[in-house]
């Protein structure tokens, strides 16, 4: 709860609480996610805008074996309760499966060690077509200088392959959280262009949220916003300007 307050004060408008399930241990059951309303009686307002913060729930599956993926297909009732599903593949085959057939929103890439597999273009392109984004953890770069080197080198190789379809993720302690603009600047370090770096924190994350909602709803999601009606006077003003131009 402490971390969430820090997030809000720093300027994030939507936060996803992550549950990690590791399949190496036996008999892991998918638990029901903690509902956000249990944590906060009323969600506080984001600094700078007048909207309330959105808190989503997210599940990360650490898969090291193809049989673990069966869980995703088995439509356990608890999986549907999560807004975003992410998968963390440990082998090349699983990476391929995750990009091409698995029903997830994000593929997490481990940055703290030398990757056991190289990224290949075909599965990455297929993932992008399906709307799946890749994700990097940036907290190791803050903790330790060896981790920093690995993080940066893995991030750069990821950027080169996936053309910038990346979003970022932080870890547990409040002191290790960084504001959205700071993380966008880190994107510049990793080789993204400025607009891509900002998108990594804003547009891509929102796209992932919508992808999660699409997955829940079975065909598609369209967001509509009410537009105020145009006043009649505005329409008559336009021809007048046009007249002025032709006369001049």
């Amino acid at each position: 709860q402490n971390i969430l307050t820090v997030c809000f004060s720093v300027g994030y408008s939507a936060v996803a609480l992550n549950h990690v399930i590791d399949f190496k241990e036996k008999k892991q059951e998918i638990v029901k996610p903690v509902s956000p309303s249990e944590l906060f009686p009323s969600l506080p307002i984001v600094q700078g805008t007048s909207k309330r913060i959105k808190v989503l729930t997210r599940l990360t599956l650490v898969v090291s074996d193809p049989s673990h993926c069966n869980l995703l297909r088995s439509t356990s009732a608890n999986i549907r309760l999560y807004d975003i599903i992410a998968v963390f593949p440990k082998t090349e085959k699983l990476f391929h499966i995750a990009c091409t057939t698995l029903d997830v929103d994000l593929v997490c890439i481990n940055v703290t060690e030398k990757l056991p597999f190289y990224f290949r273009r075909p599965p990455v392109n297929m993932a992008i077509d399906r709307g799946i984004y890749f994700e990097l953890l940036y907290t190791p770069a803050i903790k330790d200088s060896t981790m920093r080197r690995y993080t940066i080198s893995n991030a750069i190789s990821l950027m080169q392959i996936c053309k910038g379809k990346v979003s970022s993720q932080s870890e547990n302690k409040p002191l290790e959280l960084r504001g959205p603009y700071d993380v966008a600047n880190l994107g510049l370090l990793f080789g993204l262009s400025e607009s891509e770096a900002k998108a990594a924190v804003s547009t891509n994350c929102r796209a992932t949220m919508l992808h999660g909602e699409t997955r829940k709803s079975a065909c598609g999601v369209v967001y509509t916003v009410k537009k105020p009606r145009k006043v009649e006077e505005e329409e008559t003003a336009v021809p007048a300007c046009k007249k002025a131009k032709t006369q001049a």
Partner: protein
């Protein structure tokens, strides 16, 4: 113990050296103001060095074995613009 102005400058230079090496540490950074109470400061750097400085500050995790975090509130090429925080603006 809160750092004073000189220690703060040392902190910034250390962050630059850790991330960008000697070339980064040589980047001319000025501390224009520093408030010990709120631990906030205004820094000035050449515009080509902004990315280096900002990333170095973001990734700084430890100083003298104590955990720390930098939060960049505003960046602007004009000093006057710092009086109004553009991140607080609301789009209706």
């Amino acid at each position: 113990a809160r750092p004073n102005a000189a220690q703060f400058k040392q902190l910034v230079v250390t962050a630059l050296r850790e991330l960008h090496g000697e070339v980064g540490a040589a980047l001319p950074v000025d501390v224009l103001t520093y408030e010990e109470k709120t631990l906030s400061a205004i820094l000035r750097v050449i515009s080509s060095g902004l990315v280096k400085l900002w990333s170095a500050l973001t990734l700084l995790g430890f100083y003298q074995n104590r955990r720390c975090a930098f939060r960049v509130l505003q960046t602007s090429p004009f000093l006057l613009a710092l009086s109004g925080n553009s991140r607080e603006l609301v789009l209706d």
